[in-house]
Amino acid sequence: MSSPIRVLLAKVGLDGHDRGVKVVARTLRDAGMDVIYTGLHRTPEEVVHSAVQEDVDVLGISLLSGAHMTICPRIMDLLREQDAEDTIVVVGGVVPDDDVEPLKKMGVKDLLLQDTPPNQIVETLQRLVAERGPR
């Protein structure tokens, strides 16, 4: 019996727009995943702490505030500090094209931006978890 993929979805910082992240949560649920949603206005510390306690496969960060170049490096650092760098980090929301490569260099596995169809989100997470292999 294999376990469902476990995903933590987080809204970080001063960003009150959660319609998108809720649609994603529902989409992933309908694809058979366990989705933990943290709610709005979390700090990077809170998000990483929750991801570690919940032992998730994927940490999905929803950002529409433009603060991604501040928040993402902090989250990647904290994951390393907590010995949890095998967590697959995926960013969704609004990110300018110029920032995509720098974020990937930082260790963000993929960016699923505003035009991504739901089935592509599901397929991306399934592929990333399969590539990582069992823990």
């Binding site: 019996m1 366990d34 979390r42």
Partner: protein, 302 residues
């Protein structure tokens, strides 16, 4: 905990060791209808417990979809104040087809937290209906949360969930109709026979109290914690506890055997079920004969 939740048979010996190392924590079960304020109350309770330095583990359970098997686990949203506190561990779990209000591996997770040194472990069940009473067979103290305005005094005398409470809580007591709910519950308790074990003076060892709380104002939370601690003391020092622990152990044993049987049954029958189901749905075969057939060559032992 993730491995326990994955349910593979390899972890069973390790979980057995954990079970033997556990047994020090007090296990508090919290149950109630959806939206009655369980998660918020857990958060407030954790806050109150942390004031005297006790470590708290929380297993928060939400339902899995019966169709996709997926789940949205949202209990953490209400517990965010404790995220950075190392004396608090919160784990969200999905029911994965379990119907009694608990997740399949919730009890193994409780053992792990218990053995890890948490003083209090709170199990928050899924939002329940009237009949999900499994929590009473897994916890030392069962708290049933009722919200005002969800039924009359007839609801209060029905069998099921209201009967399993060691402590009744009426949440959202800042609402005007909460007194009515408190009165209904008290009347129900006064009408019933106290099923608690008696002491040698023929007095019940525990009288089920009704506590009103408001997570909004914080009213009643300290009183609720004091009541929980009072029940814990009664549980630890009287026949109340010894009897309860036996029933919990019995339930746990049957439940574990049942889960093992279920998983082996599915493995050994998975290739044959589909053909049988076709015939049953055409009414060429009946479910009684089919289940006999499936059971007949089931390898119960290995």
């Amino acid at each position: 905990m993730s491995r326990a939740e994955a349910g593979s048979e390899e972890v069973r010996p390790a979980l057995g060791e954990v079970y033997k190392a556990a047994g020090h924590a007090h296990i508090l079960g919290l149950t109630g209808v959806p939206g009655s304020g369980k998660s918020t109350m857990v958060s407030k309770l954790v806050q109150a417990v942390r004031k005297d330095g006790r470590k708290v583990g929380v297993i928060a359970i939400d339902p899995s979809s019966p169709f996709s098997g997926g789940a949205i686990l949202g209990d953490r949203i209400r517990m965010s104040t404790h995220t950075m506190d190392d004396g608090v561990y919160i784990r969200s779990m999905a029911t994965r087809g379990s119907t009694g209000g608990l997740a399949r591996s919730a009890l193994a997770a409780v053992d792990i937290l218990d053995a890890a040194g948490f003083d209090l472990v709170i199990i928050e069940t899924v939002g329940v209906g009237q009949d999900e009473v499994e929590i009473a067979r897994a916890s030392h103290t069962t708290v049933v949360v009722s919200a005002p305005g969800l039924g009359d005094d007839v609801q209060a005398i029905k069998a099921g969930i209201l009967e399993i409470a060691d402590i009744h809580v009426v949440s959202k007591c800042d609402r005007p109709d909460s007194n009515r709910t408190i009165t209904d519950l008290k009347t129900m308790l006064a009408m019933g026979i106290n099923v608690s074990i008696k002491n040698n003076e023929d007095k019940p060892l525990w009288q089920v109290p009704v506590v009103g709380t408001s997570s909004e104002s914080g009213e009643g939370i300290d009183q609720l914690l004091a009541t929980i601690d009072r029940h814990r003391d009664a549980h630890r020092t009287t026949a109340l506890g010894t009897e309860r622990l036996r029933r919990i152990a019995e339930y746990r044993t049957f439940k574990t055997a049942e889960d093992l049987l279920r998983s082996r049954f599915f493995v050994s029958t998975s290739d044959r079920v589909s053909a049988l189901v076709d015939r049953i749905s055409r009414r060429e075969l009946d479910p009684f004969a089919a289940s006999d057939e499936l059971m007949s060559d089931l390898a119960l032992y290995r």
